[in-house]
Amino acid sequence: MKQQTTEGIVLSRIDYGEADRIITFLTPEMGKVRVIAKGVRKQKSKLAGGIELFSVCTITYIEGKSDIKTLVSTRLQTHYGQIVKDIDRTMLGYEILKILSKLLEDEGGQEYYDLLLSSLEALDNLETPKDLAEASFLLRLMRLLGHLPEFTHDIKGRQMSSNDSLQFSFDDMAFFVAPSGPFSLNHVKLLRLLGHNPPGSLFSVKDLAKYLSELTPLVRQMSRQYLVSF
């Protein structure tokens, strides 16, 4: 039987039978890969069933006839251990894994793997604001799924200017000019940056914390239109 080795990040684990678990990994080449880990439940001696969450592992498995492969071995490459030092980040990390686990069926591949990797890296760096990691993940995911809203023109197709006060229309998924709108062109520019760049490249944005605190609820609301509830 053919053995394969690949890098992977654990997305989820479920029980199977009396002593086994099915573990779903996200891999760069093959997207979601489901493997059966035999006998890991016989002894609940290690948290995470011996395979750490928030980690990059090298996994070796045997291809079988069915969709689920058989896990032969795992080796830990990188463990993002800083995430669990902070409950907020832990919860965000789990949410990210849950969203990708639910959303990705046949999609997958390098782009989604890179998205997950850069998101875990951002969360693991405790100097990265959590809001930044969250907003960046959601917007980049929306872009990969083809749902990223129009951020270059307003609802009427006009280019927005720095004098405009803006509001966001969830029906049209675009900004429009409104006299008492809470957003400005700077907010829109940051959204564009967030949707196309990993968090680490955005530290130098001026007044980042202020804009993030104002944009995060908007980004969450946007993501609820297309992604699982967050």
């Binding site: 029980d15 609940k44 001696s45 948290l47 409950i87 919860m91 949410e95 849950k98 509830s229």
Partner: protein
């Protein structure tokens, strides 16, 4: 009822244990997430009381592991801490995902309130255990 208590502070743990055992419950007290999983494996609890902040793996990590086993999916869980729920970044949705039945803020929690919460969660297991 059989209560699995995960509490890293020994003085507090003795207080909770003392009160709950006086109320007729059997309390299995463990200090951290790993031994908590092991204890649940040895004897399935009727309810779990877990502190959010544990040394090593946190209460959240414990619950993710605990809930991933089908035998324990329906065991009621009380999560408690000296951290306010909102400050811990735990939304109601997140608590629901973790299967947390109640989040109790320790500075505002009396032992009697803890007892009443247990009664509400596991009403069928109120019979006193014989010592």
């Amino acid at each position: 009822m059989i209560i699995l208590l995960l509490e890293p502070n020994r003085l507090l743990a003795n207080q909770y244990k003392g009160y709950l055992e006086n109320e007729g419950h059997k309390v299995i007290w463990k200090l951290n997430a790993q031994t908590g999983i092991g204890a649940a494996d040895e004897q399935k609890p009727d309810v779990v009381i877990v502190e959010l902040l544990l040394a090593g793996h946190s209460g959240v990590e414990f619950l993710y592991e605990f809930r991933s086993y089908s035998d324990w999916v329906n065991v009621p869980v009380i999560l408690m801490s000296s951290v306010v729920q909102s400050a811990a970044g735990l939304s109601d949705g997140a608590l629901q995902e973790l299967g947390v039945n109640a989040y109790l803020y320790k500075p505002e929690l009396s032992l009697e309130q803890l007892g009443r919460t247990l009664k509400l969660l596991v009403p069928s297991k109120q019979k006193r255990l014989k010592s």
